[in-house]
């Protein structure tokens, strides 16, 4: 009962902070709200019995990716968008919001109404880091390998783009 209550509380926090992150005019505030939303998500993972995923969520997203976002925002010195008048007619600015909200509401209702698992409440099991490791490197070993390949391709690509012209010319002359 308490767990269900906390779950809905965290869910509400995640939704509200994400919405606030979208509508903030100041990018630094947007990042802060996103970090809060990530924290709420991590706690939800913890509640669902996955402490390792919760910890990784905080380390990777809040601790690394959001820090990088903040770094870029500060380096580029993006000034807050002050009440900029858009040239689009009034109805065009709010119709997408209403549509998305409608879709979200319908989907939530359908999920609550049709999903038989929803009635059981939060499952009471607990995945230790060991369980997580076994699942990741036995059952999903192929997926892990494919993703690691992709990451190394991306690293090589980033290296190529990052090469300055002079160094690239020198490397081509050498080869």
């Amino acid at each position: 009962m308490t767990a269900t209550l906390i779950f809905y509380l965290l869910g509400a926090v995640a939704l509200v902070t994400t919405a606030l992150a979208i509508i903030q005019r100041n990018p630094v505030y947007a990042v802060i709200y996103l970090v809060k939303s990530i924290f709420a998500l991590a706690l939800i993972f913890y509640l669902l019995g996955a402490p390792l995923v919760a910890a990784l969520q905080v380390i990777v997203y809040a601790g690394a990716i959001m820090v990088l976002f903040l770094f870029v925002i500060m380096m580029l010195e993006i000034t807050p968008v002050s009440a900029r008048k858009s040239s689009a007619p009034g109805w065009l600015s709010w119709t997408p919001v209403v549509l998305v909200a409608l879709v979200l509401a319908v989907m939530t209702l359908l999920l609550i109404g049709l999903d038989p698992v929803a009635e059981q409440g939060i499952p009471r099991w607990h995945a230790t880091p060991r369980d997580f490791g076994y699942a990741l490197f036995n059952e999903y070993a192929l997926a892990v390998k494919i993703i690691s390949f992709q990451l190394s391709f991306a690293a090589v690509g980033a290296f190529h783009i990052g090469l300055t012209e002079r160094r690239r010319a020198r490397m081509e002359k050498d080869s």
Partner: protein, 331 residues
Amino acid sequence: MADTLFTVVLILAKLALIFGVVLFMAAYLVLAERKILGRMQLRYGPNRVGPFGLMQPLADVIKLLTKEDFLPARADKWLFLVAPGITAVTALLVFAVVPFGPTIEVFGRTIPAAVVDLNVGVLYFLGVSSMAVYGVVLGGWASCSKYSLLGSVRGLSQMVSYELSLGLSLVPVIMMARSFSLHDIVMAQASVPFLLLNPVACFVFLICILAESNRIPFDLPEAENELVGGFHTEYSGMRFGLFFVGEYINLVVLGSLMTVFFLGGWHGPWLPPVVWFLIKVLMVCGLFIWIRACLPRLRYDQLMNLGWKVLLPVSLLNILVTGAVLLGLGL
């Protein structure tokens, strides 16, 4: 019901104990640092307040509390006020998982000598400590001053470069202890501390926590002689005090983590476990102060080069070698 109540009381008692001890240690580390630095530079250090200057921390607190809490005109008020708290709180939060002694028996229950013994303790430390940078960054940004902003950007890029090696230098420790729990990691060092088994990881970890604590030779976010005070240029009174104390709490916390990961935690002959733990923590803190007295500040590009071109490959190689050795020994 009585059981739950007992657990709650126990946790509160441990929290109060740790809070008190860590704050006390942080306050007196400031004094110890000033004294030791003074002696190393052929000065006396503070010796006016109380016998041998022992009341100096109290005088400092009174001074900071009674000073004006200044808010720059164009500062982002809310973030400016919150930022010092983030630094101090994240430093204190890490201590929740640090085990400072073996499990004890109270009223027939075994109790770990840490606030909680998480099975993802190492990751908890990495997660919370990666939050600490937000205090530095948001404080500097909210001040709306060029020096502060420069300090923040430096703090950010320093953190991005060193966080990775910090995490990777702990992987061999986890591999050798076969657990993420700090208690298990200390238990795995009952005979030989990991400092002797894997000195490379220990060295990388030491450099990374030096960078993490924003101290010389990695104090670029503050850099008094080029950025005035870096990210805390605009702060005054107790808010500056929170940044300051946060740094020293961080010192105690990182010292205890060094002890837990590499120096064998509370294990040691003759003396009681908690005393051994305290001695080791103070030795690491002493080393930090000594380093501050000896080394100059690194230049910015040197710092980045060291992080990305030396520490990262070394810690990655170290993981490979440790894994190979563990496999070879059939452990």
